[in-house]
Amino acid sequence: MGEKTRGFDKKWIQTYMLIFIVIGLGVILSFISSNFLTVTNLLNVVRQIAVNGILAIGMTIVCLTGGIDLSVGSIVAFSGIIAAGMLRDTGYPIIIIVLAAIVVGAVCGLYNGYFVAYWNAAPFVVTLSMMTIARGMTYVYSDGRPISNLRTEFLTIGKGSIAGIPIPTLILVVVFILGSIMLTKLKFGRYVYAVGGNENAAMVSGINVKRIKMMVYVLSGIACGIAAIILTARVSAGLPQAGESYELDAIAATVIGGTSLSGGRGRLWGTIVGAVLLGIVNNGLDLLNVSSFYQQIVKGLIILGAILIDSKRNS
């Protein structure tokens, strides 16, 4: 009996360890910087993590199937530049432009998914190809120049808030809720885990494995489209160099959140906590005036720590 209760405790602690770490870090930070625990700053943090959080949600779903999406940063740039271009050249309502950015992201994701699923190509390679294609198309479309002077209504998406909560944060919350429902309540979610856990078993169980594999990349592309809107509105311009190396931050949040890169294991809330952790570290180190050289080392150590905890958990 004793064994059993201890086993339960352990599981519980492991599951919520990440949250403890985040809270612990917050406590430490509020002691060493008087500016950390202020409403403005905390709102800053949650606004700042929106883009990476949304990308990481898409990334997590891809990683659950055992895949990886290296193209998210470039897709963000491409969707963003298209949205900015449409804002400049057309008078379409904002909602149409938002949808267009999402569609662009989804189409890029479809490219990834199609070749991964139906041509059995390695996700690493396919998304690497999309990464450079999307970046190239961004330059072609923008002629390498930023597209600025966007409409003020559009910029509200990046700056505005509703009931005191920044709009980017609200979008992140909505995306998170939708993603969670998809993964836990819909059969699609079960299929994602099954495909990642054991593709053959999933196929023998009559699951359309190829379609699931394709869909996760489309979802990641959609996440890119949404993130692109926020990013473009936040910096008030469509930037050809936007989103560079964002895939790495998204993967970092995913891994810190406990998702296995080999697929089949992971949770969306873990990813969000991972994104929050990265956001707090970033913000805290900025407030403490820590040189960016050290910031990168700290980030790397956190990723390593997360992996060590994870491999301990599985041993």
Partner: protein, 500 residues
């Protein structure tokens, strides 16, 4: 006394939540074959892994030639003359036989690998285990039994004094087993100790000198093979009498439900035709790699046959794929539970309802969790799946319970035809009997069953009709009345054609 090569005293090993070994003892005598028996989870493999340096004991000591030893890595054990051949072989498939044999101790000339010497040494080693293969052949081109022989040769390469074989016969055929036994005999005469872990009763009495029995992590006893008989041994292992292994069958064959005509897959099998009727158990026999599983994979739409037709309920099936076949009422309990039967990281609940999710969710794809839980619970009870709860991940369950989950997956679908491919492999005697009973009951309910097995008694005990395969061809079909071990064996090795 000097004859004792290795002794393990009072070994205790805990895994999270499980006491795998409790204060067990074990000793090995020079030049003897020592069988290790017990149901799955009895602790046999765990003890051997401690001896081979893969795990470390929490308590207790291991003595090699009277000296206390602690191995932290398999490499340490190996250099001390202890080699373990694992149940699941893990050779490097894209390397040659010679490279695999000398992995980690390559012969070198200066900085460069001396391939010529390695290849000639490999040939010499293989000769000793009676394998005649070019040392430059890639490992992936070998059959499972050949790989096993290479593993044994590898043990010889390290000049191992103690060779531990974990269920070596689970994946190889009768004839190959005979070959294996010959080699074991040779090793024994050489003065080496063999530890032989198995579930198969007949093998134990053919090969073992001594038998040690474990049950639930406890040491039950060590017996001289001449002093104990099969029934006594079973009682020691399961602590209950097995009155009857195979159930009484009351099934009756009715209308034809499945017809396969001239199914071919180039280079794999050819011209396979057979029929299956409701309420019938059709046995598929033949050696490993004779094409039984491959035919089933093609029938289920996992691979694509080059020609031939499949009729289900008289209806021709075009371009089969698993989804289509499932919808036509076929379920497939695959040979390889871990490979394509279960998602090991997922829970009992998730695995059980996986193929039924479409039926358990609404048009929007939202799963009706309450209903799904009810169904999973119902089948857990029905099949007596032993698990702490539905949310337990299946990788922590025993082989027998895993197999039942695979079965539950399909029973929920209520299929008309169920294919069982080696359903009892690697599971213990008690669980086997339960599986047999379930299969018989299903046939009685009018389900049509294809039952594939390498174990002859199983085929004879369960089937109504037997089809025998040899090298991708159907070589014979026998009714249960005509079938005997000898006749099946003849067809399975193609000794004699026809004669039914």
């Amino acid at each position: 006394m000097e004859n004792i090569v290795l002794e393990a005293r009072n070994i205790t090993k805990r895994f999270p939540g499980v006491l795998a070994l409790s204060n067990v003892n074990f000793r090995l005598v020079k030049g003897k074959v020592h069988a290790l028996m017990g149901e799955n989870g009895a602790g046999k493999s765990t003890l051997m892994k401690i001896i081979a340096g893969i795990y470390q004991a929490d308590e207790g000591n291991v003595f090699l030639h009277g000296e206390k030893v602690v191995f932290h890595t398999p490499k340490q054990a190996l250099t001390n003359g202890i080699s373990m051949i694992h149940q699941e072989l893990s050779p490097i498939l894209d390397m040659t036989i010679a490279e695999n044999l000398f992995l980690g101790k390559e012969f070198c000339k200066g900085k460069f690998i001396d391939y010529r010497r390695m290849n000639s040494e490999a040939t010499a080693l293989m000769e000793r285990v009676g394998v005649d293969l070019p040392p430059t052949m890639l490992m992936k081109e070998l059959s499972v039994s050949q790989m096993q022989m290479i593993e044994i040769a590898k043990a010889l390469a390290y000049n191992a004094e103690i060779i531990i074989m974990d269920e070596p016969s689970a994946t190889i055929t009768e004839r190959e087993i005979a070959n294996l036994f010959e080699i074991i005999q040779g090793l024994k005469e050489d003065g080496r100790c063999i530890v032989y872990i198995t579930h198969k009763m007949d093998e134990v009495f053919r090969i073992a000198d001594e038998i040690t029995v474990f049950r639930d992590g406890q040491y039950i006893g060590t017996y001289d093979a001449d002093d104990i008989d099969e029934n006594q041994l079973v009682v020691k292992m399961v602590n209950r009498e097995l009155t009857e292994i195979y159930p009484k069958k009351n099934n009756k064959a009715a209308d034809e439900i499945l017809r396969v005509e001239n199914l071919c897959q180039k280079g794999v099998f050819e011209d396979i035709s057979f029929t299956l009727r409701k309420g019938e158990i059709l046995g598929f026999s033949g050696l490993m790699g004779s094409g039984r599983t491959e035919v089933m994979n093609a029938l289920f739409g996992i691979t694509h046959p080059t020609s031939g037709t499949i009729y289900i309920n008289g209806e021709k099936v075009d371009k089969p794929n698993p989804r289509k076949i499932i919808s036509k009422g076929i379920g497939y309990v695959t040979e390889d539970r871990k490979g394509n039967g279960l998602v090991l990281e997922m829970s009992v609940y998730d695995n059980t309802i996986l193929p039924s999710l479409s039926k358990l969710s609404n048009r929007m794809g939202v799963v009706n969790r309450r209903k799904a839980l009810e169904v999973a619970e119902e089948y857990k009870e029905k099949l007596k799946i032993k698990t702490p709860g539905l949310q337990q991940t299946v990788k922590q369950l025993s082989g027998g319970n895993q197999q039942k989950i695979v079965l539950a997956k399909w029973l929920i679908q209520n299929p008309d035809i169920i294919i069982f491919d080696e359903p009892t492999r690697g599971i213990d005697v008690g669980a086997k009997t339960e599986i047999y009973k379930l299969v018989a009951n299903l046939a009685e309910e009018g389900k049509a069953i294809i039952f594939i097995s390498s174990e002859m008694p199983e085929i004879l005990g369960m089937s109504d009709r037997v089809i025998v395969f040899y090298e991708g061809k159907k070589t014979g079909e026998l009714s249960i009345e005509e079938a005997t071990q000898e006749r099946i064996m003849m067809y399975a090795s193609d000794v004699e054609k026809g004669g039914a």
